[in-house]
Amino acid sequence: MKILYFAWMREHTGCSTEEIRLPENVANISELARYLRGRSAGHEAALRNLKTVRVAINRKYANLESPITDSDEIAFFPPVTGG
């Protein structure tokens, strides 16, 4: 699956996109975030506090309980500040 990070989350993880294989025991966004936190100190910093994080599955807003599959595109980003 494809993982995307934006804004300060991208700066923390050090990558805008990464391809991973969805682990067997990861079924939703909050489990995925916990798994990704193990990848680096930057990932840990980016995904430590999910309360201030927005998430999208296949370019649609989702939440921490939303189920995921290995073919999904998942994006993590801070609250938006455009306009």
Partner: protein, 148 residues
Amino acid sequence: MQKILISEADFDIKAEYAALKKTGVGAVVMFAGIVRDTAKDPQLVAMTLEHYPGMTEQEIDNIIKQAEARWPLQGVRVIHRVGRLLPEENIVFVGTASAHRAPAFESAAFIMDYLKTNAPFWKKEESKTGSVWVDARQVDETALKKWQ
């Protein structure tokens, strides 16, 4: 008539107005968001806009569809710039055309309120002392309440 454009290039207000006017209706409302000038903020150097390609267009399309379901609109145009923008440069344009002024005003304000909270853009503010990601403002969340 609908247009959504995410672009590094500036928009041309005259061309946008001409397109909205061509719908033949009586009322056009246009909003423009601009990087504030250095007279107001002497420390400001630039704003850099980042977005989520694909999702952005989809979210804006979704906002426009909601506006069209609420008001009789003949035209809606949304342009949002990305990349590094200097003080006084245009950031965003929203234009609506309707037979009467109330739906044109309300739909343009509605689109801006939802764009501010739903469209995946992020602003990094570059000042003389460093760079910082702009925080989301509570007032923007609150602004949505009047439409719900």
